[in-house]
């Protein structure tokens, strides 16, 4: 093992340790919804869902109302089906509260203008991952999925500094490009929020995992813009939450 690799391991270990401390002070625990954010007071059109998986319904609600979302997927999120769920014209906050009631082991928070649904109990490794702060990195103008992939390359350089990363991005000939952005002193959780809380909004989806050492093998998150032409197709597939 050469000295560069050793330095990389030490760097990653320090970052993980910092992340672990951040997790212990409560970043991963339920926070009460912030009541001072006026975006949640916006009144939205009546929303209904019948015989629809909660996963699909929440993503649809976000898309129909341009509410940036983050979802940490758990079993309940994929298995719960909404039956005759209806809200009248109401604030975003009250619709979210009603949706959360259907997912008893879930809670939602507002962080950096993103509504995040998360299980009450997240594996510690997942919490540590979200608290990692990669070095500053400039992401070019690109499709949202492409930008997420560049962000992942920079994250992998922290998690597995001795390894390189292959990047492959498919797009239509004239894709909708999202503006360039610089990630400066942001945790992974903040990076995900920053990615989707722009333009017409979007959603990040994270699959929880229990082994931080293995997460570099498979990107645990994906992002979708509400204006993406594959959104409808992908948002109907609740991802498999079984991760290492």
């Amino acid at each position: 093992m050469d000295s560069e690799t050793v330095r990389g391991f030490i760097r990653a270990a320090i970052l993980v340790a910092v992340a672990a401390v951040a997790g212990m002070i409560g970043l991963g625990y339920p926070l009460p919804p912030r009541s001072d954010d006026s975006a949640l007071d916006r009144v939205v059109a009546p929303f209904s869902s019948d015989h629809e998986p909660a996963f699909e319904a929440i993503l649809r609600f976000g898309r129909e109302n341009n509410i940036p979302l983050g979802v940490i997927v758990g079993n309940q999120f994929c298995s719960t089906v909404l039956i005759d769920f209806r809200t009248q014209r109401a604030s975003v906050r009250s619709v979210l509260e009603e949706l959360a009631k259907k997912l008893p082991s879930y809670h939602w928070t507002l962080e950096d203008n993103v509504v995040v649904f998360a299980p009450d109990h997240i594996p510690e490794a997942t919490d540590q991952f979200l608290a990692v702060e990669p070095p500053t990195y400039a992401i070019p103008e690109e499709t949202l999925q492409g930008q997420a992939l560049y962000a992942w390359m920079n994250i992998r350089a922290v998690l597995r500094p001795e390894e390189g990363t292959a990047v492959n991005i498919l797009s239509s000939s004239k894709p909708e490009k999202w503006p360039a952005l610089t990630l400066n002193h942001l945790t992974i959780r903040q990076i995900l929020d920053r990615l989707v809380a722009r333009g017409t909004g979007g959603v990040w989806i994270l699959l929880p995992f229990k082994d931080l050492a293995k997460v570099a093998d498979h990107r645990p998150f994906s992002v979708m813009g509400y204006s993406d032409n594959v959104f409808g197709q992908l948002s109907t597939q609740c991802p498999n939450s079984e991760q290492p």
Binding site: E4, G8, P134, P135, Y137, A138, I139, P140, E142, Q145, G146, L149, Y150, W152, M153, N154, R156, A157, R160, P161, E162, E163, G164, T165, A166, V167, N168, I169, L170, S171, S172, S173, K174, P175, A180, A216, D217, H218, R219, S222, M224, N229, V230, Q233, L234
Partner: protein, 304 residues
């Protein structure tokens, strides 16, 4: 069917009750009743009475067969078909009106439809259905009225239509948009301490004959895998989300890498990229695998 009143009078032809038309008839009224469905069976213009020479009736004069079709003109519309497996395409047959010169829909004159190779495509009335990759001719048979210079005659006609059934088989690079070395200051950039190569190309799916498939709206998805040749120590690649073909069947593919071993290494890493093309009909086709070869000084796709 032709009814020549002049002959009936001249030849003293009785009807089924034995009555004959009088030879001194100057004017008559008549009814025409067409007992056979379809056009062109009985032509009012063919009933001619000529009393120039006393009371004798003359043979009908020649007339223009304005319901006739110019000989050889029946053609399929569209002229040819390029179809995906499972696709159904509507067909019609047109002929050139011998009087007006305009196209006329004569599909109804064709009563039997088929193809030379039904395993490739089948034809039924006004429809073609693609069955499997290949090429065949479709045809239809019918009797069409043709102007023979002195009225209409019916001739048998069999127009044909070439049918190619495409199957997505491979992809190819149409053009290169970018190709450059990546480092921590390029755009896109590598993470600090890494370098690599970036390439963006425009691609199109081709069929079993190497012909471009210019259909928009097909979904291209991919799988990526590392091979045993991985001297640049790349991690497991993540396949990208599916994309729809657009602008005439095109899609863009950006492929590259960053490695802590670049720019100094002379090593090579090979990846296998396999596209799946799912047609609008929902039928998926796995395309031929490509090898993406990465070095610190360039990327290639199947050597290109």
């Amino acid at each position: 069917m032709w009814v020549n009143l002049a002959q009936l009078i001249r030849n003293r032809v009785p009807d089924r009750k034995g009555n004959r038309l009088p030879v001194d008839v100057e004017t008559v009224t008549y009814d025409l009743r067409d007992l056979i469905p379809g056009a062109h069976n009985l032509n009012a213009g063919g009933l001619v009475l000529d009393n120039t020479f006393g009371f004798s009736a003359a043979s009908p004069a020649c007339y223009d067969c304005c319901e006739g079709i110019a000989p050889g003109s029946p053609i399929f519309l569209p002229y040819s078909l390029v179809m995906d497996v499972g696709e159904i395409e509507a067909l019609s047959i047109a002929g050139v009106d011998s009087c007006s010169g305009e196209d006329e829909d004569i599909t109804g004159d064709f009563t039997s439809w088929g193809s030379d190779d039904p395993s490739v495509a089948t034809l039924t009335s006004k429809k073609a259905k693609a069955m499997a990759a290949g090429f065949t001719y479709g045809y239809a048979n019918g009797d069409v009225p043709v102007n023979d210079g002195c009225g209409c005659i019916f001739v048998q006609s069999q127009p044909t239509v070439p049918i190619t059934v495409q199957v997505p088989t491979d992809s190819k690079i149409v053009s290169q948009i970018n190709s450059f070395a990546m480092n921590s200051t390029s755009s896109p950039a590598c993470p600090a301490g890494q370098a690599g190569w970036y390439r963006r190309v425009q691609e199109i799916v081709v069929d079993q004959n190497g012909t471009d498939i210019t259909v928009d709206g097909s979904t291209i998805s991919e799988t990526l895998g590392l091979t045993s040749t991985n001297q640049l120590n790349l991690g497991t690649p993540t396949p990208f989300l599916p994309v729809l073909t657009s602008g005439g069947g095109f899609f863009d593919d950006q492929f590259g890498f960053c490695s802590p071993l670049c720019p100094g290494s002379t090593g090579v890493s090979d990846l296998t990229e396999v596209f799946t093309d799912t047609l609008a009909s929902g039928v998926p086709y796995t395309l031929k695998a490509h090898t993406l070869q990465y070095t610190c000084s360039g990327d290639t796709d199947n050597g290109q």
